[in-house]
């Protein structure tokens, strides 16, 4: 007891004497914010365009990547935006959040998530997370998309609606190739019974977008149920190589 009291007193004294040392979540170097300037530039690339259909980071003047221009992108989404390029330390951070049980790391990223989302997407009526199948939710203990959606909803004061459900326990998308991913999720999602979303503008939220098959399927369900427009936000996306537009190979 006395020891605990001493430790508490010590930590208060430390607060008074020492400036709190923050380190960048991605590179571990000392920084005044949760991500340092170098990492933000390296992974978020704010100046680079995103494909309007699938969120992929693209070069040049086109609005969409080659795949989406060829008609292979999702059909029901008005715009998709990704906060950063899914590679290196940013990819590792998303893995830590998703697979290593650290969803609370998203709280430290709140200011970057919200400012990017607000800049890129029009104001929504509600924010909807991509659901996990109950079996996977039971194994993992949390749905990273739901945590991400709750961070956005909490910071921006927008309603969070957990209205989609996953009715098929599919093979994880990360284990499949491009063509398999596109078929894997057919009819995997549905709207929960008794839910009304008529004329609503919705932000659909997921952790990573690669082929956009998951968010595409979810958007289809939302649009069929009467949503006016569906926009998507995610933490990371692939990048279209100027020489090799087929990003499936990059990922």
């Amino acid at each position: 007891m006395a020891n605990k009291f001493f430790l508490q007193a010590k930590s208060i004294a430390e607060l008074l004497w020492y400036e709190e040392r923050k380190t960048c979540l991605l590179c571990g170097k000392q920084a005044s914010t949760s991500l340092c300037q170098d990492c933000r530039q390296l992974y978020f690339r704010p100046e680079q365009r995103r494909c309007l259909s699938c969120g992929k980071l693209i070069e040049g003047e086109a609005d969409r990547c080659q795949d989406c221009r060829d008609g292979n992108g999702p059909k029901f989404l008005s715009k998709v935006t990704a906060l950063g390029h899914y590679e290196g330390a940013w990819k590792q951070c998303i893995h830590n959040i998703k697979y290593k049980g650290q969803p609370y790391l998203l709280i430290g990223l709140a200011e970057y998530l919200t400012s990017w989302a607000v800049k890129q997407l029009p104001p929504p009526d509600s924010i909807v997370p991509v659901p996990l199948h109950p079996n996977r939710l039971a194994q993992r203990g949390f749905n990273q998309a739901e945590v991400l959606a709750s961070v956005l909803a909490g910071c921006l004061g927008i309603k969070l609606k957990d209205i989609l459900c996953r009715v098929k326990d599919t093979t994880p998308q990360s284990a499949l190739g491009r063509q398999e991913r596109l078929v894997n999720l057919r009819c995997a999602f549905s709207l929960k019974p008794g839910i009304q979303i008529k004329e609503e503008v919705i932000w659909l939220v997921d952790d990573v977008v690669t082929t956009a098959a998951t968010i595409g399927e979810c958007a289809a369900v939302l649009k069929e149920s009467g949503a006016q427009e569906v926009f998507a936000f995610c933490l990371g996306a692939g990048r279209e190589s100027p020489n090799n537009p087929d990003t499936a190979s990059i990922l």
């Binding site: 290593k100 049980g101 650290q102 609370y104 039971a138 993992r140 203990g141």
Partner: protein, 577 residues
């Protein structure tokens, strides 16, 4: 990983991740569905287990889940194990693979394997993560280990089962209600209360050892130690300590730069000869990477494993491991001998979690040897109570006494607008520093980061023909500056305590400015003085403690060094005696 409640033949309640395996091995008949994290299932007291009916078990679980704000909607129920279960075939196939289990047991001996490490271990064994989990559970059923939750609930707080931390954790809401992640041992891989640890039993090791009996990997007679008389005497003391069945801890109190690492080699050899496991731990990463090749050279062909934040996961079973004190948290009752170098250095000193890790890694019958040039008051008190054996190594390998610091009473020069204007005290300090610069390169220690650049500027004005540099712990250019100083490209390095340890510079002299500063304790002052006279080519030098007043710490530091020299003289360890 999810666990299911089962009952054994005596009515005892236990949890298993693969009830099918329990059906095969123990004849279990039913289990509670759905599965839950192990941490939520540890609610049954041993004295009530036989008395609870099946429905009471369900009721007790449901109450506990509600209390934890668990969002589980599925109804808890007993299911028969007689019907086909999803893992039946896998379990049956793996239960027959004795060789694979033996290989796994050798690898996980004395280890605490967390769920996040499963994938790297599975890769080594060339099996899937599920297959690995089944094999680990088979090991648990056979009594080689146990499952423990990553963190357990203790009344209103949490306790990390890997590092013992009870104060520093992040709580977050999950599908299973309040969940905690340990922040103390996060650097060796995150761990939360939904995850589990496979912890190997000490008894397992004994059994495995019996099988191995007679197979030695090392014989010390091959070695030629080439020790100085002082080292010979300390090494002999350590060997006596190793043979004493009642002695548990020993402290080697050595002079800075006396070659304390090497004197542990004969004891290490003694343990390796008897197929016993040894850990050489150090708080600092660079010490670990510096010592591993030295140990490897001495103990060839026995492989010396290195574990640090920089090394990739290595699952090979080795009798001799070198690890940072953080990596030690990955072990449980694994070592017969632990040698802890620089026990008074950051981050080990005063860190209860790392102290716990070291105790946890030591077998109950194991011994610990602490190495230090500046032992803490608590270990010296243990020596005083005769709970810890003490051996001194007072002389440096070159046989010259330690340079005794000179105290100079000079008031610290005033600082205005981030610089030191010319003053009498600055000029006086400058005169002394000039004298030292005739002898060689110069360490100038200052207590705070903000003083580094101020003094670099002031000294650059005083010594225009000298190259002066400065560094501190978070200086991004630290490595380059230190390398430039050690290679002789700069004449003076102004630094904080970062260079007080582990650096040897030929012909170096040292000055401690503001030596009366509250941050400088005896140990820091002794370590800083220890930078001088470390090489055989230049075994002497000067150390100046400059301050406005002579504090107790300054007096004690000078006394410590004089005492070491006196002991060296008494032992006849100094040159020319």
């Amino acid at each position: 990983m999810l666990f299911y409640i089962l009952r054994d033949k005596d009515g005892g309640i236990y949890a298993s991740p693969f009830p099918s395996l329990d059906k095969l091995c123990n004849g279990a008949e039913a289990y509670v569905y759905p599965g839950l994290p192990l941490q939520l299932l540890n609610i049954f007291r041993s004295n009530e287990q036989g008395l609870l009916s099946e429905s009471q078990i369900i009721e007790k679980l449901a109450v506990s889940l509600r209390k934890n704000e668990c969002l589980l909607t599925e109804k808890l129920r007993w299911l028969k194990l007689s019907v086909f279960s999803p893992h039946d075939e896998d379990c049956l196939r793996l239960a027959r693979k004795e060789e694979l289990l033996t290989k796994l047991l050798t690898i996980v001996q004395g280890r605490q394997v967390t769920e996040n490490e499963f994938s790297s271990l599975a890769k080594v064994l060339e099996i899937s993560v599920t297959e690995l989990a089944i094999l680990l559970h088979l090991a648990v059923i056979k009594g080689y280990g146990e499952w423990v939750p990553g963190l357990s609930r203790r009344n209103n707080s949490w306790r990390c089962e890997r590092c013992g931390n009870e104060d520093c954790y992040q709580i977050w809401p999950s599908y299973y209600g309040n969940t905690a992640t340990c922040l103390s041992c996060k650097s060796i891989g995150p761990l939360n209360s939904l995850q589990v640890i496979y912890r190997s039993h000490e008894e397992t090791l004994k059994r495995e050892k019996e099988k191995k009996a007679g197979s030695t990997t090392f014989t010390s007679s091959e070695q030629d130690w080439q020790f100085t008389p002082a080292q010979c005497s300390a090494a002999a003391d350590l060997q006596l300590f190793a043979r004493d069945p009642l002695a548990k801890e020993a402290l080697v109190w050595a002079a800075c730069g006396a070659g304390k690492t090497e004197i542990t080699f004969p004891v290490i050899g003694q343990y390796l000869e008897h197929s016993q496991s040894v850990l050489y731990a150090a708080p600092r990463l660079d010490v670990v990477h510096d010592i591993q090749p030295r140990l490897q050279k001495f103990f060839n062909p026995c492989k010396v494993k290195v574990m640090s934040g920089l090394s990739p996961p290595d699952w090979t079973a080795c009798p001799l491991t070198v690890a940072t004190t953080h990596q030690v948290l990955k072990f449980s009752r694994a070592f017969d001998l632990i040698i802890l170098d620089e026990m008074d250095a950051y981050p080990y000193a005063g860190n209860q979690v790392l102290e716990y890790g070291l105790k946890q890694a030591l077998k109950r019958t194991g011994k610990t040897i602490y190495l230090s040039a500046t032992p803490s008051a608590s270990i010296l008190a243990k020596v005083g109570r005769q709970e810890c054996f003490l051996t001194r190594l007072p002389a440096r390998f070159h046989g010259y006494p330690l340079p005794v610091p000179e105290f100079l009473k000079i008031k610290a020069p005033k600082i205005s607008e981030g610089r030191i204007p010319g003053s009498r005290s600055l000029l006086a300090i400058g005169d002394y520093l000039r004298e030292l610069l005739f002898e060689g390169q110069l360490f100038v220690f200052v207590p705070t980061v903000s003083l580094v650049n101020i003094w670099v500027q002031a000294l650059s004005l005083l010594f225009k023909d000298k190259k002066i540099t400065g560094s501190w712990s978070s200086d991004p250019d630290r490595k380059r500056k230190v390398a430039s100083f050690t290679s002789g490209n700069s004449d003076v390095i102004v630094c904080t305590s970062i260079l007080e340890r582990g650096i040897t510079v030929h012909k170096a002299q040292a000055v401690v400015l503001y030596a009366d500063h509250a941050l400088y304790d005896v140990r820091a002052l002794v370590q800083m003085a220890g930078r001088v006279g470390r090489t055989a080519a230049c075994p002497q030098g000067r150390v100046l403690f400059i301050a406005g007043k002579q504090t107790k710490e300054i007096t004690a530091a000078i006394k410590w060094i004089e005492e070491q020299n006196e002991l060296a003289t008494q032992g006849g360890f100094l040159r020319g005696q």
